[in-house]
């Protein structure tokens, strides 16, 4: 079952998504994993788990993605999910100022409570609802119907904050797919080599084969250099 065509080293990275309710966490994951978008996605209860691999030129990163529920009261469950996470995507909604506040809270919590060295990316989602969304949208039908600019949080504001806290920063649209893959690739590149562990043994991949999820197996030697290029 081991992929013989993957001489590159591979490692799994646990990634958790946090953010206010209905900012598009699940949609980002769905776009990344299945390159799909659903208008009315059921709210995540507790958390959802998905995997997706990301091929860098020199290695393969398999993301184990924990997509959490956004409602405030589910916050107390979050530690269960971000436990041992090496990366986190903190998502806010570009059109909703409160969601950035909540995002900041999450960043603060992660910085204090999560594993040290966790890579955090701040992601402003729903770019398709803003003016710059339509133009930049990589995918087809970007929010053409919304001619108005619903943006409430400027790029500068969020970016400044992200720089202060040393976070990766992106503005995305799960709907159009704009910038989504880039977020994950950037995270993959930012994960320090040292914190990578090799993927789990054959047992894991055996089980994984039952699912449609892509899994790569590898125990090859590690290549220290990491470059761009996530093929998903």
């Amino acid at each position: 079952m081991a992929d013989s065509n993957a001489p590159k080293p591979s490692s799994s990275v646990k990634l958790v998504l946090l953010g206010e309710a209905a900012v598009g966490k699940s949609s980002l994951v769905l776009r990344f994993v299945n390159n799909d978008f659903q208008e009315n996605k059921e709210p995540t209860i507790g958390a959802a788990f998905l995997t997706q691999k990301c091929n860098l030129p020199t290695r393969t990163i398999k993301f184990e993605i924990w997509d959490t529920a956004g409602q405030e009261r589910f916050a107390s469950l979050a530690p269960m999910y971000y436990r041992n996470a090496q990366a986190a995507l903190v998502v806010y909604d570009l059109t909703k100022p409160t969601s950035l506040i909540k995002a900041k809270h999450w960043v603060a919590e992660l910085q204090r409570q999560a594993s040290p060295g966790i890579v955090i990316a701040l992601v402003g989602n729903k770019l398709d609802l803003t003016n710059d969304g339509a133009g930049n949208g990589g995918d087809v039908d970007a929010g053409g119907e919304d001619s108005g600019d619903a943006r409430k949080i400027t790029t500068e504001e969020a970016k400044t904050y992200a720089e202060e806290e040393s976070l990766l920063f992106f503005e995305t649209s799960a709907k159009t797919g704009y910038n989504v893959t880039e977020v994950f690739t950037a995270i993959a590149n930012a994960i320090p080599e040292t914190s990578l562990k090799t993927a789990r043994g054959p047992g894991a991949s055996h089980a994984a084969n039952r699912t449609e999820e892509q899994r790569v197996n590898l125990n090859g030697p590690r290549d220290p250099s990491a470059k761009e290029g996530c093929a998903c």
Partner: protein, 1168 residues
Amino acid sequence: MLNFSSFVQKAQQLLDPVQGLNLSESDRNPSKASLFQSQFRLPSSQHPLYEITAELTIPPANATQGDRDRDRGHQYAGKLHLSEAFLCFSTTPSSFLQSATTTTSSIFTGQTHGGGPGGNGFTFPLCSIRRVERLHSQNFQFALSLSTWNGISQDAAKEKDKKELREQRVTLQLAGNRQACERFCDGLKKGLRANVGMVAKLKKVTSECYSEYLLRPEDKKNAAPPDAGLGMLFKYPGDPKKLRDRAKMRLWAEYLRDNGRNTTLIRQPTFHKLIRVGLPNRLRGEMWELTSGSIYLRLESPTLYADTLAKFSGQESLAIDEIEKDLNRSLPEYPGFQSEEGIGRLRRVLTAYSWVNADVGYCQAMNIVVAALLIYMSEAQAFFLLSTLCDRLVPGYYSTTMYGTLLDQKVFESLVEKTMPILWEHLVKSDVQLSVVSLPWFLSLYINSMPLVFAFRVLDVFFVEGPKVLFQVGLAILRINGEELLDATDDGAFISVLKSYFARLDESAHPKSENPKLRAVTKFQELMVVAFKEFSGITHSSITELRLKNKDAVLSNIENFAKRTAIRNLGPDSKLLSNDELGALYDRFYTVLYERQQRDHIIKQEQARRNKNSRSRIAEASEGDNVEKGRVGLGPSTSLMDYDAFREFLAGMCKWAISDAPSTPQRDAFAEKDKGFYGSFRRADTVLSPWGAGPEPAEHEFLQRLFQKWDTDASSALTLQKVVSGLAGIKGKRDIMGAINYFFELHDDNGDGKVDREGILRMSEALLFLSRRGLEGTLSPSNSSVALGGENANGTQGDVQPVSERFLGSVSAFIRRCFEYADPDHPKNQDHSVREVQQKSESTLLDEPAGEELANPDAFAIGDDDDEDDDEDEDDEDDLLAMDSPTGSPKTAAKKFGNSPPTLQLNSTELTPGADVDTRRRVSKAQSEKANIALDPSNPLHITLPTFRMVVLADELLEQFFETSFPASFHIIEGLTTTPTSASSLTTFSSLGIGAGRAVNAALGTGQGTPGGGPAGGAGRGLRGVLDNIVTDGMRVAAEVRRRMEEAQKELEKNALPETQQQQRGAGAGGDDEEEDEDEDGGFDRASTRSGKGGGAAYRGDAERRSVRSSDRDLLTGADAEASDVALAGVGDGVEGGAASGAGSSSVNTAGGGGGGTGKVVGVEFDG
């Protein structure tokens, strides 16, 4: 640092030691009533009133039922229970009598194990019983024949229809002695009569049940069916053929025909079987409603749903925002929820529930559950069923902290560990967190984990048998997939195994079996069998037990998390405080709220016990059960602190915030609990005091100001955020200017940077209030006395005075200086509001409970004479003011406050006897003149922040007060560990009597005549009493000043004479001396005892005093004249005030002083 959860725990035990660990009242030590309610799924308004052993006979079914025993029908032996509105029969032998042991009242049989309608029998609302007849029978037995309204609609009650009807009739043979039977029958009669009025309601409620339509008489075949959910419009999920829906419907129709429908249904063994095979679509909603008991809630208040919607129509809330976000994503695959119709229903039910249960509001997953319910039932039915879910079936699942969800995950984990140790070990080894998978199962009742048709089958059983079903099914899932799960080594693999299992539930469990029957068994059927056979040992009580066991750990986890999060999100102000301080503040804040709610709850229960008649419906169901309401882990029902809670909060960490009332239990809640004394307090104790075991908080205007200041958005409630910001303003700045500014702003009512005359007095009152239990922090004792020493060469003050005592002097000086340096207002600016405010506050003062001892009027000489007009120039005046002037013989250690409103003649001093009354009078007159200038409301003045700052900095002690003492008086972390001082040890101006003993009292009583005795006596008896007096007196003075201002105003209005004012402006130089003399005379007192000590601090800047001028001009003659009257009046007030506040012995002194009759001495005491 204090540990919040241990507080809570202890607080619980304090309230009721037996309940220490209860999840709710009905758990560890459940009341008979709650057992009764939960067995029959009755509303919390129902209590077991009577019970009797009986035999139920159900007559032979219809002729069509050939296979039944025609002769005897069915007979069941069991117990008959009567509550306020229900008659219940069950073959379960449990007894709910008061005399019954807990064991007998929790004996359960059948699948439900007490978690639901167990055994065979019925639960009849009394209003569903149409007639009860006593049958003649042999053997002296009591036999009742019961007929119900089953199938009899109101218009069908006519004679001709009756024939067609098969009246439902059962017979009950009561077993018991005649008395017992008769008692029961009497109760039943009463109950029936009381419930007659409910019949119409019942008909309305049942008319919404599909069974009425299903069994409708022939002539109504065309009637429109009642709402049986969205499924009627959008089809029910699943293939009806595959589900064998028609066959099920026929079976149910037959069962209902024979055994009664909806409220009159009788449970026989077939009932449970029919449920296990899955309910037919159109009856599903009704049976859920019936088995869960939510129909009884609907019966209690049939219009609650519609009323709630109407009542809150158009209002907004956070919950509504959250609901809106999820409406479009609730079971989106079901066509009904892609339509406005379905979404509208979902919106209304969720919204209505968020209003009736604001504590829960809306939680994600409720949308999914309610959406599922709405497929099978009407909005109103879903509304009440949701309420039953949240309160009874899955309590705490959807609360703000979701403690129920987390708790049940722990319970589930321990069950897995117990029943599947190998799998458990594997999970631990692979570091897979079980709850990551299982949490959504429980939270959404499997609805979005399994295909809908199967999830509904689980729900069918869940509503009858209770929450244990969720555990049984969960365990069965793991058991069935055990092998594959053992291969999975990470979360992802683990999840995949289960995901694919759920997707194949409809497949054969044994596809390769030779046996076609076995091959036909689906995975879902297998699951149900495993769940209910293999895990039949999982019962309601075993779940309850495990919940209790895990509860504390879960709650404290949540609390720690909540605390951590809350503290982290407190905003920038919180950075000014240390983490420990924030933690302690958090604990204190919520402990106070929690304890107050507990007390409130108990008090309410008491009241409810008293007037049993008033019972509300749904709301009470939740409240009644949750004794821990308010605990953070359970989702605090409030996070807002009102003013009273604020006082209690401060009393936990500030000495000055504790009331001086003698009745106060002098215990500190925290210290006490830490010492473990709580065990000795009973519920009764706590109830007695509205403040619980803690000290009674003081009430003072300063507290109100502080509250208002902290309450930045004027919502009359403090959040933790506001408290932290407020305290950060005081404690966080750590610089004196910050503290001074803060204090100033606190008294700057309109934020214009000015504090008027009234405000100055308030400031001084506040200072006295804050210092009356002594000062804290680093104070350098030597400085002021050195300064004093310099001024008072005579050496009476050689000793270092106690700081608190000196502080009184400082306050006095403060007032004086404030007035000296005050800027005049522009007349036009003057505002009448000043006076209003002052009146208001005065009345408040009188109402205050705080007063300690009555004021001793002698403490202050408010001079009033109308006969003298000494002309003085400013210098004279200055001299006058200079109380500490060298002229002051040793005798004159008096503190005087020059033209301060004067009147603050704290006659601190002198022991020298021999008072010359005349002199005194003269002096005091002069004083009062000056005083009046300051007091003259027509001559408004104010101080600005710079002035205030200067005045404060001019006094070392005040400076220290702001620098360290005030901030240090908030013992955030350690709390008050020592017993707060009792009233008698307060630093006040009040009578010496307490501390100094009789001799002094006598001296005082006689007035100035024999002051000589005072000092010695006072000194001898201890400084304490003296100190007590000092502060109180100071306060008294301030109050008197206020009074005089009013008087002055009156007088002014009467006859304002400008010239007189001029004359009076300058008091005679001689007056100064006299004044001093007076002090000596007045010498009396305790003042003398404290004598020089206090005096000195006040008198540092002569120069300052000299600057007083223009504002002094407008002395009012009239006011002077008035003054003596005022003085007397003041005495009166003092007495009243003292009496009102329950002050002790000092009242005698006050009276005595007044009587002492110079008439000049006034004491009005205000808040201690």
